[in-house]
Amino acid sequence: MKNEPLGHKALLFLAVNLTLALLLHVERLPVWVLGTAIGVLVWRYFIYLGRVASPHWLVKGLLVAGGFIGVYLTYGWQPSIEAMVSLLIVGLVLKPLEVEATNESYLLVFLSYLLIALNFLFDQSPLGYIWAMVLLVLTLATQVAVNRGSEKPEENNLIARSSGSVVGQAFLIFVKSIPLALFLFFILPRLGPLWSMNISTQAGTIGLSSSMSPGDIAELGKSDELAFRVRFLNNEPDVKQLYWRALVLDYFDGEQWSQRYKPEIDWPPFNEVSNKDGAGSMPFEVILQPNDETWLYALGVSRPLTAGIGISQDGRLVAKKKLHSQTLYKANAQLSQTMDKSGLTRKESLHYLQMPASGNLKSRQFAQNLKNTHKGSLDFARALKRYISENEFYYTLSPGVLRSDSTIDEFLFETQKGFCAHFAGSVVYLMRSVGIPARVVLGYQGAEENPVAGYYSVYQYNAHAWVEIWVEGSGWLRIDPTAWISPERIEQGVESALKNEFVGFSSGSSWLGPIRNQINALNYYWNDWMLSYKGDAQQEFISELFGDRDQAEMIAIYIACFFALIGAVFLTLLFDFKRVKLSDGQKLIKRYRMALESKGYELKDVMSVAQISQLALTASPHLVKDINWIREQIETCLYVDPDSHFSKADYRKIAVSIKKLSRQIRKAQGA
């Protein structure tokens, strides 16, 4: 078997397959790659038609070199998944120019598999997975077509007929492979990364940003992308109290709030983690969308219940590595506790009282005046609340840009329109200017319940900024200045607070709500099961399935299951025989013969009905009437009209009379 040229069917399959594999990645491909892909496919088509000659090797070489340079120019040396995919696609796209024979087209097929697999880095939705499976079957079909490619259809029209079932064959292979794949998926232990991967996607996922200058979060407020899902393991929470802490900002440069103070992070060892279930605790489980950062979401004072998660001095939960894929973790929240009750260190007070040396004089003056009448920290906060709620402050997502050098003055005394970041920033500034340690906390507020699956979703539009002040004897206290002006904003979520500005995605619409909940529930189960099935979840599932067993037993069970599965597949080989379909007449003859043979008559294989009847007659002449009737019936069926079928009743009648005959013979023999 030589490296044969491809038939047109295989080429067609290849072309469709390549196009679909490319479409998977179309959003993250630079335009020039797409252009090249289309160009090459058209070119290849003309080569196939015979209008254009196959390109010279020099041309191909130049194209490949050009492709690599193009990828370098687009992405630089910074390795990223997109660059890798682009490089693969450049190879994939230029390969068809060369493909004339079977072996090279296998390469294309394998590259398609790889592209399908890599797409899961970007798309992990259940719908995406189904589509990937469809593509997998198609790629398998292409592989079957390529394998058959060298056969000439004109040699035998049987081939032409059977090649219609290429897709069917591929589907069969796919279906047969599923049980073993499922088994391996559930049983195989997951390894940790073999080497560290710092490759991140360049597109950058929308999420909180690590700094805050008012105007930032306006974008977020309108994004309905999912941030994370959460399930509460014991008691249902009060949605109003869900302040998901992600970041703590301590440094203000006059325009921007950012994180300068990096407090120590405590990494609780795994064995200490799980048994701290005090009263009033609220364990929860988060499935987090990849945010390409290390931050996780904490509630109140949280302790992690999953290994590998650290807790910082300022109450944040952090992961060891940047989160590029969906992650599941558990933590235990204590809503009633406060941090740093005992007092702040000198370093901490310095950070939490930091202010720019100049600017915002009006605000400082205002704070000082207020402080003179309200001495205590809490008193001061209450006075501030009264001031903001009694004056004309508005909550809006499009407050306009603050242009002056003193943005806080401008906001507090001129525009008076803003969103959480404006209010939080200004309040922290005012607090600090009178010597109250304060910090901005960024995160999400609220959650949307999905009653179908019993979990809560937190979307990007739940992003929020609030304030913590440190009060002697009480520790850090949360105040949410945004709640001071617009209570609905906190009570019913951002949608109802901003009805005028939100049109895009109202989940409140009466008939859309349940459907949306169903789809979200499906997504949740998918995430909870498919994406998070590793580590603890896997252990739990396996011990639920097989009970608690020691390692040796477990291994024995695995091996047994593995071989049982493979054995089951091989068992199908045993049943691969043609079943000959007998006509009614043939079936009756068989019965007739069996009836006689069991009574000790010796029948030859080639005997006709007449001969058999003759034999029966010589042995039991007194049954002549029955024998003749049976013979007549069978012969009519067999010879007069071979296509005729007995009605069920007739067939039964003959079968019964054969039985009767056999009984009578036995009686005669016994006598």
């Binding site: 078997m1 060298s150 998926f185 894929s325």
Partner: protein
């Protein structure tokens, strides 16, 4: 040293193979005879599986992991399907036409498939490189493969390989067939002028006479008898009267036209056989009556295609096997 080791291994492998697949007329493919191994593309596929797996592990991406596992079990399914495609096939050796050494014979091979599934993408040949495709086998299929014997005697057909890469092309599944065929390789004819040697009573007398072999004079018609050469049938008469007649010719040396081993004293055995073979061919082309005399075997004078085949068979099997000579008769 290396070479001898390899030689030893090859010999061992051949012995093992012979034991596993002995020569026979009909072979049913079972797990004893079927070999299966991933080919180059298969190894590439496996490295693809590893690559996807590493991606899944490094990005901690369960979906990529599941995809790699799925690809792996597709590979295992492919092993079963590829094996299944060959197993249960019954291969029977059929007719083989006898030819002269160096000429091509057609070996007829029957494939019969009793399984529910069609057998697809099969290739057959003496080696992988010179194999030809077999169309889909559903039920019974007949095919011919060409064989060039290079030694006189019964066909010693080398092992034939039947292989398939169906359905995914990543595994090669093959078997070695050692089929027995009835064909006989006649000695390659060498044409030298005919030398007449009288029968034992006149031995030596006319040993050097060279007899002209020419077209004889037409004598008349007689009724056709089976075995008469087709060349001498009076087709014109047949067209007219619908009666088969054979033209008869006057034969100058009709009696005692013996092709005799003893006429070629100075030659080696094989050469003698080849020359005798040439004479048989020539005589039969010219439709003479002739007999063949070999040490220990005399074939009486006769004529016709059947007689010719008997003589050629005797020449082919001379000194190899005497009981086979009559088999063709």
């Amino acid at each position: 040293m290396k070479l001898t080791l390899k030689g030893k291994f090859d010999a061992y492998y051949q012995r093992w193979l012979n034991k596993r697949s002995p020569t026979s007329r009909s072979i049913k493919l079972t797990q004893k005879r079927i070999f299966i191994i991933p080919n180059k593309m298969g190894l590439l596929f496996l490295s693809l599986v590893v690559l996807v797996f590493v991606n899944g592990v490094n990005y901690q991406n369960n979906l990529i992991f599941s995809f790699s596992v799925l690809l792996l079990s597709i590979f295992i399914t492919a092993i079963v399907s590829t094996y299944q495609n060959l197993s249960g096939l019954v291969i029977t050796s059929g007719h083989a036409n006898s030819v002269f050494v160096g000429k091509s014979a057609h070996l007829n091979i029957g494939l019969s498939n009793s399984a529910r599934k069609n057998k697809q993408g099969l290739w057959i040949g003496f080696s992988r490189k010179n194999a030809s495709a077999i169309p889909v086998v559903d039920g019974v299929h007949q095919l011919n493969i060409t064989y060039k014997p290079n030694e006189r005697g019964p066909f010693k057909v080398p092992k034939i390989t039947l292989f398939s890469r169906y359905p995914l092309g990543i595994l090669t599944c093959w078997t070695w067939l050692r089929l027995k065929f009835d064909g006989v390789a006649y000695p390659a004819p060498v044409f030298v002028p005919y030398q007449y040697v009288g029968r034992s009573d006149q031995e030596g007398e006319e040993a050097d006479d060279i007899i002209n072999l020419g077209v004889d004079d037409f004598k008349g018609f007689r009724k056709y008898q089976p075995g008469d050469s087709l060349k001498h049938i009076a087709w014109r008469q047949f067209a007219k009267n619908d009666v088969l007649l054979t033209k008869e010719f006057e034969e100058a040396q009709a009696q005692g036209h013996w092709l005799d081993w003893k006429a070629l004293p100075g030659h080696e055995t094989e050469m003698r056989l080849q020359i005798l073979c040439g004479w048989v061919v020539r005589s039969s082309e010219e439709d003479r009556e002739f007999g063949l005399s070999l040490p220990g075997l005399d074939i009486p004078v006769g004529r016709g295609d059947h007689h010719r085949d008997t003589c050629l068979r005797a020449l082919a099997l001379y000194g190899i096997s005497s009981d086979l000579i009559s088999e063709g008769a």
